[in-house]
Structure formats: C-alpha cells, structure tokens
C-alpha cells in the first residue's frame, strides 16, 4: 500500500513538474517510454538496490509522463535473470537497466533477441550494439574513506567485506589501503569474500570475526548495513555506509558514507532513447560528476581529519589527485606502478592484484 501511494504521488508530482517540458517533445504518438529495472536484492536493503531504486524514482520525477517505470526485485544472477529480462522486453520495455555484475551473459543473450530494446548493464564489461555498460568510480569514494581510516584506526588494522574478487571490488580495497597507508604507513587491510552481494547474516559473521582479530575499521562492498550494525554493537571505531547513508543503523559507527547517485544517469539514458540518440558505450563518472558522493561526516571525527578527507575528495574532483598514481607496490613488495605514473582505466578494470598492506585472503 505504502509503495503504491508513494509511487502514485511521485508520478503525479513528477508529471506536474514536467508539464512545461512535455510540449517540446514529440512523443504523443508513442506513449510513454517504458523503462525496466532489474535488482538483485530488495529495494529496502538501504544500500545498493535502494540507491538504484532512488535513481528510478528520480527518473520518474524528472521525466514525468514521458516515462513509465517497472522494477523486479530479488532476481538471482543466473537463468532466472534471463527470464525476467525477456519478460521485461516482451512487455514493451524499450530501455532496461540490469543492475548487478552477474547478469552480464544473460543481458547479452536477451539483447540479441530484442534488437530494438536498449539494455544497460551496471558494473559490466561486455557490450554490443544495444547493450551499454555504466558504472561509478566508487574507488574515489574509497580513497576518502581510507584517509579517514588511516587517521582514526587505533590498531592500524582495517577489514573489508567483499562479495567476489572481481576487479571492481579489488580496486576498491586497493584504493582504501593506498589512502590509509598515506596517513599511516603501517596500516593493513584484511579482505574477506562472502560470495554474495547481500546476506546480512554472513556479512555480520564476517564483521564479528574481524572485530575479534583486532580490526577496528570495517568497510564493505556488499549491499546492506549489517557490518555497520556489528561495528555499532561492538563499539569499534567504525565503518562506512556503502551505496547510501546508513547512519540510521549505526549512528556512532558510521564515519561517513559513499552515496551512489544513479538518478542523473537514468534520466540521461532515458532521454537519449526518447530522442533517438542513444548509443552503446561505457560510462564511468565519479565524484566530479556527482554520481559518487560523500555523505555527512560523523561528529566524532576531529576537524583536521575531516579537512584531510575533504582534501582527498576535492583533489579527485579537480583532478590534482588520482589515488592510483605510483609508486605502488603489490602485496609482495614488488613495484607495479612506477613513481609519477597513473594506472589507466583499462588497467583498473582488469585489476587482479593487491597493493602493499593488503593481506590477501587464502
């Protein structure tokens, strides 16, 4: 009931707001563009899927009557996703966002059968004429979090709860560790992979095991706030919101949060389909474009640490700082990136090694 009311209100409000714009667009003959979203978890996870759904709502607000959106939740990364994609394409959705890495093969397969439907796959790497990929430079946010961790950690040990060791996750761990070790050269990072994007019980178990090992800062690359809740409960220094602000779950433990702001991209892509200008490609914006944002800082962080974090953030926005600029050694101590060199996007997107200070998982 709540969802329907909220959605109706938003559609109406969005429609009213968009009224002055509609006149210029020639879509009366086609009706609204149907846009489909496929989520791996529920929209109430307060993280990854929540953020994508906020983007969907923003799209409805911005384009009003010109779009009609649908979402399907809890779609596993397997043949079930293929069925849902086909279902969305068959029911007249002309633009479909598949928002998890493991949907890749199935997006390509279904896209082949529906050449007039545009597909966009978040965090993926495989493209075709009607399949684009999009992502956000989360590692820039990780660098801000890592800076705070380097200052705040008392034990000098950080933990990182990851889903799968894919480049996307590995580069986040590395960015965090590089930033933290610029502040505290002895800082170490322990990643743990839990083989799922969303399993609050497993996330919490991993977090508890980390706290028991003396880790006092925990970051996570999974979808929900479970690790932060453990951090709150055990009273360690803290952790970071991932995807969305999670301070409601951990008012003391959340130091800051990385907020994913997908809305503008969704509006841009839908508008391009409406205008007939959509093309396949890869988009990878970050802090500068506002697709990655840093949330409010916790009050317990001293002012000089906030200033240091802001400096890292602003440096990445104005381009004076790239966290993957050498010298960078790998975890064995061998030099991987020479002093003054910066890793290319391509190198980042295939990253499969850990920087110095990361204790590789067995």
């Amino acid at each position: 009931m709540m969802k329907f009311n909220r959605r109706n209100v938003l559609v109406l409000g969005g429609a009213a707001a968009a009224l002055p714009l509609v006149g210029g667009r020639a879509l009366a003959q086609d009706g609204p563009l149907k846009v489909g979203f496929m989520y791996i978890g529920t929209i109430n996870d307060n993280g990854w899927n929540y953020a994508h759904n906020q983007g969907r709502i923003y799209l409805e607000e911005q384009l009003g009557d010109a779009v009609e959106t649908t979402y399907v939740e809890n779609v596993p990364e397997g043949p079930d996703s293929e069925r849902v994609l086909r279902e969305l394409a068959q029911s007249g959705h002309k633009l479909i966002f598949a928002t998890s890495f493991g949907y890749g093969d199935y997006v390509l397969k279904v896209a082949q059968q529906f050449p007039d439907v545009k597909f966009e796959h978040a965090t993926g790497y495989q493209r075709s004429d009607n399949v684009a990929t999009y992502n956000a430079r989360f590692y820039e946010g990780r660098a801000v979090c890592g800076t705070i961790a380097g200052h705040m950690s008392k034990t000098g040990k950080g933990g990182y709860i990851g889903s799968f060791p894919i480049p996307e996750v590995v580069m986040g761990i590395n960015a965090f560790a590089l930033a933290a070790r610029k502040v505290n050269p002895d800082f170490t990072m322990t990643p743990v992979y839990i083989s799922t994007w969303n399993d609050p019980a497993r996330e919490a178990d991993a977090a508890r095991a980390m706290v028991d090992q003396g880790i006092d800062i925990i970051a996570q690359h999974t979808d929900g706030p479970a690790a932060l809740q453990v951090a709150e409960e055990r009273g360690i220094v803290g952790g970071f919101g991932q995807g969305a602000d999670m301070s409601a779950f951990a008012p003391n433990a959340q130091l800051t949060s990385i907020i994913d702001n997908w809305g503008p991209h969704y509006v841009e892509a839908a508008q391009a389909v409406i205008d007939g200008t959509w093309t396949s490609g890869d988009r990878w914006p970050g802090l500068k474009e506002g697709e990655v944002q840093i949330g409010a800082y916790n009050e317990k962080i001293p002012e000089d640490v906030v200033a240091a974090a802001e400096a890292v953030k602003n440096g990445q926005i104005d381009g004076s700082l790239h966290i993957f600029t050498g010298p960078i050694n790998d975890h064995t101590g061998a030099e991987r990136v020479a002093a003054g060199e910066t890793m290319t996007d391509e190198q980042l997107l295939t990253m499969d090694w850990y920087v110095e200070g990361v204790i590789p998982p067995a």
């Binding site: 009931m1 529920t42 596993p76 397997g78 079930d80 093969d105």
Partner: protein, 360 residues
C-alpha cells in the same frame, strides 16, 4: 471449552486427493483477500500469479524449464519420504550433481562427441548419490538423525562450489569473476523446440517421473519401500531389511537430485557459477508433499510451483507486487495442505470436562 484431535479410523481416499486442490484454491482466495486488504490489487495478484503463466503461451517454456528440476528432485524425495527417510539435503545433492557434471564438462573441454552429455549425466547421478551416501552411512551405522546431517551437508556443498570456481576451475577470461568457462557445445543440453529455451531436461523429467511411478507401483522394490515406510515392524517380520531400504531411499533421491543438477548446469547455466544453488532442492520438498508423494502427483505439483515462480515475477512487472508476494503464496499453499492433511486424518472433537460439570 476445549478441543482435541481424534484419529479417524479410515481417512477418506477422495479427500486425500482433494486436499492439494483445495489448498491451491484456498491460497488463491485468501491470498487475494489479504493482498486486497493491504491495498494491492488482490484479484489481479491471483490472476497474474496463477493464471497468466498458463494463458500466455510465451510463458509455457519458462514453466517447463522451471518445473523440470522440481519434478526430478521431487520424485526422488517422494520415494525417500515414502520409506520414512527424511532426506532434507536434496539441494546439496543437486549441487554435487552439478559439480561432478561440471568436472566432466571441463575435462572434456573442446572435445566433440555424443558421449559427453551421457557421461556428464552418469557423473551427476554418481555425485548426488555419493553425497547422499554420507547421511545414509551415518544413519545406518551410527544412528545419526538424517534430517540434520543431510541439511547441514547442503551448506558444505555450497562452500565447495565457492572454492572450485575461485581457484581450480576459474574461467581464465572471466575478469576474476568466480565462475567456470562456458561449456563447449558437446557439453550443453540441446534445445528440443527450435526458437524456445526448452531443453532436453524437460522431457527427461517426465520420463523419470513415469519410470519411478512404474517402479513404485509395480515392482518389489517399490513395495518394499512402501511397506518399510508404512509399517516398519511388519516389514522386519516380512524379511525386509530396514538399513537396505534406507540406503536405497538415499541413493535414489540423491541420484535423482544429482541428475537434476547435471541437467541444470548443462542446460540453463552452461557453466558453474556461485549462484548455481537456487533452492530447487528445498522447493522440491513442498512439491513432493503437494504431489502426495506420488510420482505422477509430483508432476502436477511441480507445475503449480513453477507457475507461482513465473507468475510472481509477472506480478512484479505488471501490477507492482513485491517479490516476497510469490513466497507468501507458496508458503500459504504448504500451510493449507498440511492443515488439510490434519483434518483428513483426524477429526476435531469437543472435550467436556467431567469434573467441572460434576461440580456444577
């Protein structure tokens, strides 16, 4: 005033077969009412979840491939449950079937030949049966409760997948994503209806159900399973070994779950991924009971469950029902079925307190 349940001397045979139907109908009515009350289009939900998958011919292929593994696993579980062997770990045996079949597919990578798929099927059945043998040994040798062991082994099997796809079997071209490479052509199940996704596993599922039905009703083996389950003392007296029956029940249910795993990994998945265990082994428990532990009933029950899965996704896209709704409908179905079972086997009787009346 108190009530108690009193065993009916002879449960009605007609009601035994009507309760599953009644459970489905009650689920539709009460589910529709509940969703209407909380502000959704309740009748629309029932229509989308239970009817649209049947009326929309596009959806039939989805029903087929979703029902196939449920039928194969459900039939095996029906045999085991008939023998009073509570194998709850079909999910793990399904996983092991998929893992063993993947082992064959990866070792024969690039090889062509008709024998690859049959070899994968044998490996899958062997994998599932071998994994089911563990709770069988523990039960027959040490008397360990098979419900716990078979269930817990499921989690171990999932960890094995995680290990395999991260290290020894990782796709060299997979960008570090933990999954095997896509099987070569010879190790993929062919589609049997051109232009659809219906693979060979669908007819195999029907054949398996018919075969097991024949064996259970027409052979000594089937008779032994049924007698040991229904009347263990009589069975012992008649010379049927209980341990032997436990073994058979585990090997059959495990082997069939393994076969389902092989068909699934060679059909829809075409590679092993961490998301391979999707709960078919657990859903098949509902299927076995909804099908009255009868292989032919299992076919219908599997289709009903497949309808709720496919319909649940339809209801999300067409009327915005949340994903959990399909799960609620499935759970209500099992609830009404079990409740109906109680009423078929027992009758409710009012208990009158003698002492209280005497005092009055």
């Amino acid at each position: 005033m108190q009530f108690k349940l009193e065993k009916r001397p002879r449960p009605s045979q007609a009601m035994l077969y009507l309760t599953p139907v009644a459970a489905v109908v009650l689920t539709m009515l009460i589910g529709g009412a509940i969703f209407s009350l909380i502000g959704y289009d309740g009748m629309g939900a029932v229509r989308e979840i239970f009817l649209t998958p049947l009326t929309n011919s596009y959806k039939w292929q989805d029903l087929g491939i979703k029902a196939a593994p449920l039928i194969i696993i459900g039939v095996g579980l029906a045999v085991a449950y008939r023998a009073n062997v509570w194998n709850i770990g079909a999910e793990g045996q399904y996983v092991m079937g998929g893992v063993f079949a993947t082992g064959v597919a990866l070792t024969t990578y690039g090889v062509t030949g008709w024998w690859v798929l049959p070899l994968m099927a044998i490996a899958g059945i062997a994998g599932g049966a071998a994994y089911a043998a563990i709770p069988a040994v523990l039960r027959t040798r040490l008397g360990v409760n098979e419900i716990l062991t078979s269930l817990m082994l499921t989690y171990a099997s999932v960890q094995l997948i995680y290990y395999l796809v991260r290290a020894p079997w990782k796709d060299p071209m997979g960008m570090g994503f933990p999954q095997t490479r896509i099987f070569s052509e010879a190790a993929r199940l062919p589609t049997i209806i051109p232009g659809t996704i219906v693979h060979l596993g669908v007819p195999i599922a029907i054949v398996v159900a018919l075969l097991v039905w024949f064996v259970m009703t027409r052979s000594l083996f089937g008779f032994q399973i049924r007698v040991v389950g229904a009347a263990p003392h009589a069975a012992r007296y008649g010379g049927f070994s209980e341990n032997r029956t436990i073994w058979l029940a585990f090997l059959v249910s495990g082997g069939l779950a393994g076969l389902a795993g092989m068909l699934e990994v060679a059909g829809p998945f075409q590679r092993l991924v961490p998301g391979f265990p999707t709960g078919y082994g657990f859903t098949a428990i509902i299927v076995a009971f909804l099908g009255r532990l009868d292989p032919l009933g299992v076919i219908f029950a599997a289709i009903v469950l497949a309808i709720t899965f496919v319909g649940g996704e339809l209801a999300q896209t067409t009327i915005g029902l949340p994903a959990a709704a399909a799960g609620i409908f499935q759970a209500m179905m099992l609830f009404f079925l079990l409740a109906g079972d109680i009423l078929v086997r027992y009758r409710v009787k009012r208990v009158v307190h003698q002492s209280a009346e005497a005092r009055a």
